[in-house]
């Protein structure tokens, strides 16, 4: 590429920028609307990307296999006797029964997730379990002790008090003492959790002895998970077996689907903008036609005028793209996607303290660029060509 060619391009760019400055108000309007459209697109995509990433990474330690009993297409309690049946399968390292369920608090409209476990997590003696910010875990055999999150303590309006009560199905009250508070750092998985012993959970939900909500199977060799899953299905009739891989896949599907549909909704905004850009570019005023005529008389070719219009559109598009895209990163990275949180989090009363820092993925950038900048450049190309082929003697 020789110097005169670059000099010519720079001269046309200079002229394009001067032309943009002459129509500052109109171009600034287009720039602002375009930036907002790109900001919305990118924010939605980054929010979705961040949540998918958080789910994928956090749930890498989810149970190998979860076994649930199904009855008439719905989940029902599983007999503890199933544990003995599964214990015979070679490759299974450990089976834990668990009771868990939901408790709807009518006083504040919140849904709590109650988990009852017999085997509490191991931790070094003398030091607290790292998932807690204060207190301790209930110990086996204890009754009426629970661990809750800080957000739940606030919702229950406990203040400094330690005791709270929940209704059993027969509307009698079960009283619990808060012996520990989950750490804020684990809010993403514990924001609505009440952890208690299995006996307490059984008492709260009135689940008879000998039944549990599900069985958690730990497998010695992760490569054997699918084989063992098949064996479990053969041994227990009517069970649903969920593997860790399926759990992770669910989240990918959920968020990517949401992101896809959100993008389709936002496409309306983009199409409106492209129509606006087409309209602005094709509605040539008399002075613009005169300008083209004068340039042609001065020796500009049709290609030069096309290049001039392309530089004008590309300048607006690239500045709008960078501005909108960077603002989206600020929105998601620093304000946790405040505009789209209601869509992703819904009407929940208990909301985790969410910090989202999405990864920079090239395909995401390319996608936003392709569905915003390229349509804009195409929308302005045809009007630019129509303006460029105007005969000088017909407009002067």
């Amino acid at each position: 590429m020789d110097a005169p060619y670059i000099g010519r391009l720079l001269n046309i760019l200079d002229y394009a920028l001067s032309s943009l400055r002459r129509k500052l108000l109109k171009n600034f309007g287009v720039f602002t609307v375009f930036s907002v459209v790109i900001f919305l697109f990118s924010s939605f995509q980054l929010t979705s990307r961040a949540l998918t990433e958080i789910a994928r990474q956090t749930l890498t330690t989810a149970p190998d296999i979860t076994v649930q009993q199904m009855s008439a297409g719905r989940q029902s309690s599983i007999p503890l006797a199933a544990k003995e049946q599964l214990a015979a399968i070679f490759g299974i390292k450990k089976i834990d029964a668990r009771i868990w369920g939901y408790y709807f608090d009518e006083s504040n409209g919140a849904n709590y997730t109650v988990i009852g476990m017999d085997t509490m997590p191991d931790h070094a003696p003398g030091s607290p379990w790292p998932g807690l910010s204060e207190g301790r875990l209930p110990t086996a055999g204890e009754t009426g002790k629970a661990v809750i999150s800080a957000e739940m303590r606030r919702q229950l309006q406990l203040g400094e008090r330690k005791f709270f009560s929940l209704f059993r199905p027969d509307l009698s009250l079960a009283s619990f003492e808060t012996v520990g508070i989950f750490s804020k750092d684990s809010d993403l998985v514990t924001a609505d959790l009440i952890l208690m012993t299995m006996g307490d959970a059984r008492n709260l939900f009135a689940i008879p002895d000998g039944l549990a909500t599900d069985l958690l199977v730990q497998v010695g060799n992760p490569l054997e998970i699918d084989t063992i899953t098949g064996k479990i299905r053969d041994k227990l009739a009517g069970v649903r077996v969920i593997t860790r891989a399926q759990i992770q896949k669910t989240y990918e599907v959920v968020f990517s689907w949401r992101s896809g549909l959100g993008t389709i909704c936002l496409l309306t905004a983009l199409v409106s903008f492209v129509i606006l850009a087409w309209d602005k570019a094709s509605g040539l005023s008399q002075s613009e036609l005169r300008e083209v005529g004068i340039l042609k008389i001065l020796g500009w070719q049709t290609g030069d005028i096309m290049l001039l219009r392309f530089f004008e559109s590309a300048t607006v598009a690239l500045f709008a793209f960078l501005t909108g895209w960077l603002l989206a990163w600020v929105h998601v990275g620093y304000f946790a996607g405040a505009l789209f949180r209601p869509i992703f989090l819904g009407w929940s009363v208990l909301r985790p303290d969410l910090a989202m820092v999405p990864p920079l993925v090239f395909s995401d950038v390319l996608l936003v660029f392709s569905i915003s900048v390229l349509p804009y450049l195409c929308a302005t190309a045809v009007p630019a060509w129509r303006a460029a082929v105007v005969r000088a003697d017909s407009v002067l």
Binding site: L13, L17, R98, Y102, S186, T190, L193, V254, W257, L261
Partner: protein, 95 residues
């Protein structure tokens, strides 16, 4: 003295935006490393309590635990009841 050409100012503005972006991503990278610590903390809690889902939204049981509750949720709460929660608006059927 020759006047500075408009292309220079445009390239300068574009470069400044790129620089701003670079600074932003440097800070984002630091925040990501802080998030990695949070995630490893979350992994420990998930492993110890055998959790299967994120507590992002607790408005309905199938949004709280999309991974381990019934795959078909429409009509789950009430015969013919539509799935009306905002966070499930865009749920895809999991295959």
């Amino acid at each position: 003295m020759t006047a500075i050409r408009p292309a220079f100012w445009a390239l300068l503005a574009f470069g400044s935006l790129l620089l701003l972006g670079g600074m932003l991503f440097t800070n984002i990278a630091e925040r990501r490393s802080a998030q990695t610590q949070l995630i490893s903390h979350g992994q420990r809690v998930v492993a110890d309590l055998a959790l299967s889902d994120l507590a992002l939204t607790s408005e309905a049981r199938y949004t709280r635990h999309p991974a381990i509750t019934d795959a078909v949720v429409v009509g789950m709460d009430h015969p013919g009841g539509l799935d009306h929660f905002p966070s499930t608006l865009f749920f895809a059927p999991v295959r």
